[in-house]
């Protein structure tokens, strides 16, 4: 299936290659570079590129292109999903997935890639199994290794590989047994000029950090499971229990993992926590413009809005911005034409406002369209959909674990058109 993988930096530097079948010359990447050049923005590179004898399927992540070479028919999502899994594994192992970390850990990267694919077909992609095969680097271990010459490679076959629950390793032991769940909801919305909601939905995930000894069997139930429109689960979740009883029953992987993600598309359920009053105008003459943005709370359920950031992608002709903010700081980058206004906490008594003038390139015609605003925000201790975890039960083990649930709501792709 997957013949080879090339890692290429945003600057066009091919810094790693790995082949699972016969070696394919790196000149194959010329086709990719050609497409890359044509696309201008890295985001616009087509994910599937055809060459005379091969197909290149690529993803762009963390400023790195993962380019895979395919020779025969294969579901493209299969490859794309796998490449993302590779990137996630790197992130998991090295804390971040960047050109430098990959270059620094090239041996581990190579060993990982070797284990993840056999003859182009995924072999071990579960992080629990990989971590037993190849231990992630830590400062302490790398020191010990250099002194003693011991290795990063596990000596035993991960038991998970063989069991029916490959995501959990055997013989887990903790002195403090704890299970934490983070309910994170993101509001995706498009508001139009007048503030009416064009489109809104909630994307939620439940991230878990479970550190429990033995083989615990957990059941998580919600107060209001009917809210959830569409769900997808980690493979550990028993789908039938969810179908029949609307509870999530599972034997958890060890450590951090994403338990489930869900989708609430009913628009009336989505509270819009913020409103924006904006006025951006460009004058016909004098190559200048005016900008005036005020942000205020809307449906916040009594919680404070935090980490409020407004981002504006300005038209190309805007040279600079001379603004004043009543709260927070703003920054205009004349190269990328992005205006970022970092507000911070929203004080409902005194609404933050950003006002001032924009100067345009002289002689250029006035921009056709007003730029749209992207908003970032965070609300602690609130799931905006109102989803609530009812209880968590542990079966199969005798101890009483420490349990905790945290809620947080964020703005996802939250856009205000102007």
């Amino acid at each position: 299936m997957i013949h080879s993988v090339f890692l290429i930096s945003n600057a066009g530097d091919l810094f790693l290659e790995k082949h699972w079948k016969s070696v394919i010359s790196r000149s194959i990447c010329d086709y990719f570079f050609e497409a890359r050049e044509k696309a201008v923005e890295p985001d616009n590179v087509p994910p599937v590129i055809r060459t005379p004898h091969h197909y290149l399927i690529n993803i762009y992540r963390e400023k790195i292109f993962f380019v895979s070479v395919i020779q025969t028919e294969v579901p493209p999502l299969f490859v794309i999903e796998f490449l993302h899994r590779v990137a996630e594994t790197f992130q998991d192992y090295f804390g971040e997935c960047s050109e430098t970390t990959i270059k620094d850990n090239v041996v581990i990267v190579y060993e990982l890639l070797e284990e993840m694919l056999d003859n182009g077909f995924p072999l071990a992609t579960e992080s629990n199994i990989l971590k037993e095969l190849i231990r992630p680097p830590t400062i302490l271990r790398s020191m010990v290794n250099t002194i003693t010459g011991s290795s990063n490679v596990g000596e035993t076959l991960p038991t998970g590989q063989l069991s029916t629950i490959p995501w959990r390793r055997a013989g887990v032991k903790y002195t403090n047994n704890e299970a934490y769940f983070d309910v994170v909801e993101e509001i995706d919305a498009i508001l139009d000029k007048s503030g009416t909601t064009v489109f809104a939905e909630i994307q939620g995930v439940i991230d878990a950090c479970v550190k429990l000894s033995g083989m615990p069997d957990l059941t998580l139930s919600f107060m209001n499971p009917r809210l959830l429109d569409d769900v997808s689960f980690h493979p550990c979740v028993r789908y039938k229990r969810w179908e029949s009883e609307r509870v999530i029953s599972f034997i958890p992987p060890d450590g951090n993992f994403q338990l489930m993600s869900y989708h609430i598309s009913a628009q009336n359920l989505v509270a819009i926590p913020v409103y924006v009053k904006q006025n951006i105008s460009f004058f016909e003459t004098g190559s200048s413009g005016r900008l005036d943005i005020t942000v205020g709370p809307k449906q916040t359920m009594g919680k404070t809005l935090e980490c409020l950031v407004v981002t504006v992608h300005m038209p190309k002709v805007v040279l600079s911005a001379n603004l004043s903010a009543t709260q927070g700081t703003y920054n205009y980058d004349p190269v990328t034409k992005i205006l970022v206004w970092d507000i911070g906490k929203l004080n409902p008594q005194k609404l933050p406002n950003l006002k001032g003038s924009l100067s345009l390139q002289s002689g250029a015609p006035k921009p056709e369209e007003n730029p749209s605003l992207n908003i970032d925000l965070k609300i602690q201790q609130l799931a905006i959909s109102g989803l609530k975890v009812n209880r968590l039960d542990v079966y199969g083990e005798k101890y009483k674990p420490f349990k905790g649930v945290k809620y947080v709501s964020k703005a996802g792709k939250f856009q205000v058109r102007t």
Partner: protein, 916 residues
């Protein structure tokens, strides 16, 4: 060429590799891997590296493997040196080492070792470890690509591995099947149901491959489920799918879905909830290609969910949705807003969303969509704005109600400042006007006015063409435009020049009085143009329109040739013809056939024989009645095999439910007739697998006591001693026993069944499946196992089943009486071990008895052995039955006296009663 610096560095590495210190060697190997990763050539170090292939240090060994696989092809002779190491490792007791040896051995692309690889694969395919068998499945593909002549032998191995019941192997072997012999669909028949049932538990990558394969399989084996509801479908569907053939069959008999077809659909449905986008897409395409149309809607939500994923995933999913939305608007219409474009989307994502929105447009939602389009037209991304204008044009032609509105909107755009927007508008307006030119002469006039400001050649050419085509509607303006063009002819682009010539010709024919001179002037200019196309066109036009003695009969028809009414262009989606490819494939994405693409066949008109998929596991010996127990290995991902299975629904409800648990009940239904409760008989099934180490499994099942005798007639089995490792049961009975009768239980009846699955709550527990049914009309509440009922036994209680209501409380005492056999776990051990353990003094008690049997029993061998361990304490139980015609000698060795005697008694009765 290598730089001197590089050479010296390699010397350095060579020295390190030849040193005695492990750490130095390791360091050297790490550097070499670094070189390989950067694509530098390190092949000259081959001899130095290959020496370390037998190193004890695992990391060093692995790095040497990496190197070997990379360079073996280039250094074939030297690579052969390492082969013996792998051959030795293939016999290693550790399955990890066996597997990795096979992995590397099969990755070395050296043709000489093909026979060795073939042998290794054959052996590994019968390995006891499923992990090694999985590696064997991968090796099949490698060997096939190295030497396609081995195909026939490899197919044999694939056939064997397809029968494997391990979820670990399933995905890999199907992958090998797809690569080596995708046309041998006959190999799938017997494994079809097993694959369907295993699917949920296979790892995600395997799922994708299996689902794609099963989609193809199903299209050849089942009849179309589509014709029945074709009436309710959207208009386009009918024309598309209804072939003559189908209609004919339709009339003859109503459509009933093959249960196997249903099984596939049912077992793939939960996978729509997978976190792996490739799996979700695979299931979606399976439903698209296989499910009845009215069931298709369940995939919509999942596909829309994928749109939240990474950019690349969105791209592929949107493409597939675009194809689907052409044929079935209704599926995605409720989710229209999910396809609204954000200014931050990548351009190709935006265009795809636009495509889908256009496909979804209908009379009801067009106003919303057009309002949305208005925003897009203003986008800073001009390529996207242009695409939006095209989309508006599409909507305008498809929905006649809004044609005028769209046209007016487009005319407004003509005064836009951006050139690309204007140009695109002109082109689209041109297409629209062609459908109804007479009413729109003012638009043509307006465009003529704008003409001077438009510089994009395509737009200019379009306007000129419009002028020429409808010059009779604008008799005053057209000649004036021609006059202007005559002035600038030489500076125009080729495409514009061609249209000027056209315009001149048409005007000459309709209004020769005003334009005769102008036309001649232009034709003269054209005659000496640099471009030969324009010269040709000029010559042709001149001959056609200007009558002279040489021009033949054609000039008479000049008017009819040039002014013929032209059909309006059809604006249609670029995804119109993509449905010829299977969704979710690379070919679909590229819209051209990728190499190795397997065509999805049309539904057969008449279903092929269904019985080919029947798998007969057990055959009755005593009774003449045929008992067919299909082996549907119930793998419930560990979830259903919990020690206490609860379900609060009544039985009748369960049956209609699409839960694979009910499957098993359906299967058991015909059984009570033949499996008379009072008759006991032995069901023996012998599976012979012939290969160098071959096993014969004799399976002996009694109705209540099921003892499986696994006998190995194999003296040369693996030297691996897996002493007390439990193996999976060969046979799982499907009979359940009454726990609580509905009369005594006041409406609540309970049945239990031994699932013979390892219990997830503890190794010393036996899993039991409880089926509770409510036979009253009232609801029952709070069913639970009360604390006091268990007498010193450890029962893992299930949660109280809440929900339902009655007023009074009841308590029933029940007891579960397992047959002794149910408390045993079968284990695998070699004959030698068996005899050794039998003679072992530690197993202090043993029972022997000579039983006269009525008739000789049909054992093919003289001694049958069964090894097991008790679930609770793990103590060994060995049963051997030796036949000395007409007597049988039963020997049971165990520490547990009570159990031993009970077991002995039951085996004895069973054997005595079992004569034919």
């Amino acid at each position: 060429m290598l730089s001197p610096w590089f050479l010296c560095r390699n010397e350095d590495l060579k020295e390190m590799l030849e040193s005695n210190k492990e750490s130095l060697k390791l360091e050297a190997m790490k550097r070499i891997v670094g070189l390989i990763a950067k694509g530098k050539n390190a092949s000259e170090l081959f001899p130095a590296v290959v020496k370390n292939v037998a190193s004890k240090n695992i990391e060093l060994k692995k790095l040497v493997y990496v190197y070997l696989v990379r360079y073996a092809e280039e250094q074939q002779d030297l690579a052969l040196l390492s082969i013996s190491t792998f051959q030795r490792a293939l016999k290693d007791p550790n399955q990890l080492i066996r597997a990795s040896a096979l992995r590397v051995l099969s990755s070395i692309r050296v043709p000489i070792i093909v026979p060795i690889m073939m042998l290794a694969i054959k052996e590994a395919a019968t390995d006891l470890s499923p992990y090694v068998r999985k590696t064997a499945a991968h090796a099949i593909q490698k060997l096939f690509s190295l030497d396609p002549d081995q195909k026939e032998h490899l197919i044999e191995v694939i056939e064997k591995l397809l029968k494997d019941k391990s979820t670990l192997v399933a995905g890999s072997v199907v992958m090998a099947f797809e690569e080596v012999c995708p046309d041998r669909i006959d190999l799938i028949h017997k494994n079809y149901r097993k694959l369907c049932n295993l699917l949920v538990d296979v790892e995600e990558w395997g799922q994708v491959v299996i689902i794609h394969m099963l989609t193809r399989y199903a299209r050849t084996q089942f009849v179309s489920p589509w014709r029945e509801d074709a009436v309710f479908d959207e208009n386009s569907e009918k024309a598309f799918y209804d072939s003559e053939e189908e209609r004919r069959v339709d009339q003859s008999k109503p459509y009933i879905m093959d249960p196997d077809h249903r099984l596939l659909l049912r077992n793939t449905k939960p996978l729509l909830q997978s976190r792996n986008t490739a799996v979700v897409m695979a299931v979606s395409q399976l439903y698209w290609h296989l499910s009845p149309k009215h069931e298709l809607s369940i995939i919509t939500k999942s596909l829309v969910r994928l749109l939240r994923s990474h950019r690349e995933v969105q791209y592929i999913v949107l493409q597939n949705i675009a194809t689907m939305s052409i044929q079935r608007k209704g599926m995605f219409e409720p989710f229209m807003k999910s396809f609204y474009v954000r200014s931050t989307d990548a351009t190709h994502i935006k265009t795809l969303k636009l495509e889908i929105l256009t496909n979804l447009a209908n009379e009801a939602n067009i106003s919303t969509i057009l309002r949305e389009f208005q925003t897009y037209v203003k986008s800073q991304d001009k390529a996207f704005a242009a695409a939006t204008i095209q989309a508006i044009g599409c909507c305008a032609t498809n929905i006649s109600e809004v044609t005028d509105t769209c046209l007016n909107g487009l005319v407004l755009l003509l005064s836009n400042r951006d050139e690309t927007v204007v140009a695109e508008s002109v082109v689209v307006i041109k297409k629209l006007l062609q459908t109804q030119p007479s009413q729109h002469s003012d638009i043509i006039k307006h465009m003529a006015k704008l003409f001077d400001n438009i510089t994009v050649p395509m737009a200019r050419a379009s306007i000129l063409w419009l002028m020429g085509e409808y010059c009779e509607h604008v008799p005053k303006i057209a000649p004036d435009v021609l006059r202007k063009m005559a002035k600038t002819f030489t500076d125009e682009e080729d495409i514009v020049k061609l249209q000027i010539v056209n315009l001149a010709a048409k005007l000459y024919l309709t209004n020769s009085k005003q334009t005769k001179l102008l036309t001649q002037y232009i034709l003269n200019l054209g005659k000496y143009d640099q471009n030969y196309d324009i010269r040709d066109r000029t010559r042709f036009i001149r001959q056609l329109i200007v009558p002279n003695e040489k021009s033949g009969a054609l000039s008479k028809y000049a008017r009819r040739i040039l002014m013929a009414p032209k059909p309006a262009p059809v604006l249609q989606s670029a995804f119109k013809d993509r449905d010829r490819f299977q969704l979710g494939t690379l070919s679909h994405t590229l819209n051209s056939q990728a190499s190795g693409y397997l065509e999805l066949s049309d539904w057969p008109a008449v279903a092929p024989d269904q019985s080919v998929r029947n798998v007969e596991v057990v055959e009755p010996q005593k009774n003449g009645n045929a008992v067919k127990v299909e082996s549907r290995s119930e793998s419930e991902s560990g979830s259903e095999s919990s020690s206490s299975e609860s379900s609060s629904e009544s039985r009748s409800e369960l049956d209609s439910d699409s839960d694979s648990g009910t499957d098993q009940k359906k299967n058991t239904k015909p059984k009570p007739k033949t499996l008379n409760i009072m008759t006991k008989y032995i069901l023996i099934h012998i599976v012979l697998s012939i290969s160098s180490p071959f096993f014969v499994n004799c399976m002996c099942s009694l109705l209540h006591l099921c003892v499986f005798l696994a006998c190995q007639f194999d003296a040369v089995s693996w030297p691996v001693r897996v002493s007390l490792q439990a193996s999976s049961p060969v046979f799982v009975p499907e009979t359940s026993h009454e726990l609580l009768h509905r009369m005594t239980g006041k409406g609540l009846s309970a049945q239990y069944r031994f699932t013979r699955q390892p219990c997830i709550y503890g190794n010393s527990m036996v899993s039991l499946q409880l089926t509770l049914s409510n036979r009253t009309d009232q609801a029952l509440e709070n069913i639970h196992i009360s604390e006091k009922s268990s007498t010193g036994q450890n029962i893992h209680r299930f949660n109280a089943i809440g929900e339902l209501n009655t007023t009074k409380e009841d308590e029933f005492s029940v007891s579960i009486q397992p047959a002794v056999g149910e408390l045993l776990l079968p284990i695998t051990m070699s004959e030698a071990d068996f005899t050794k353990e039998q003679g072992n003094t530690n197993t202090s008690y043993w029972h022997a008895d000579e039983t006269p049997t009525n008739q000789p029993i049909h054992f093919s061998a003289c001694i049958s052995r069964f090894a097991g361990k008790t679930v609770s304490s793990g103590s060994l139980v060995l049963v051997s039955v030796a036949l000395k015609d007409p007597d049988a000698m039963i020997t049971i060795n165990t520490e547990k006296t009570v159990m031993g005697s009970m077991l002995l008694r039951q085996v004895k009765t069973a054997l005595t009663n079992s004569g034919p």
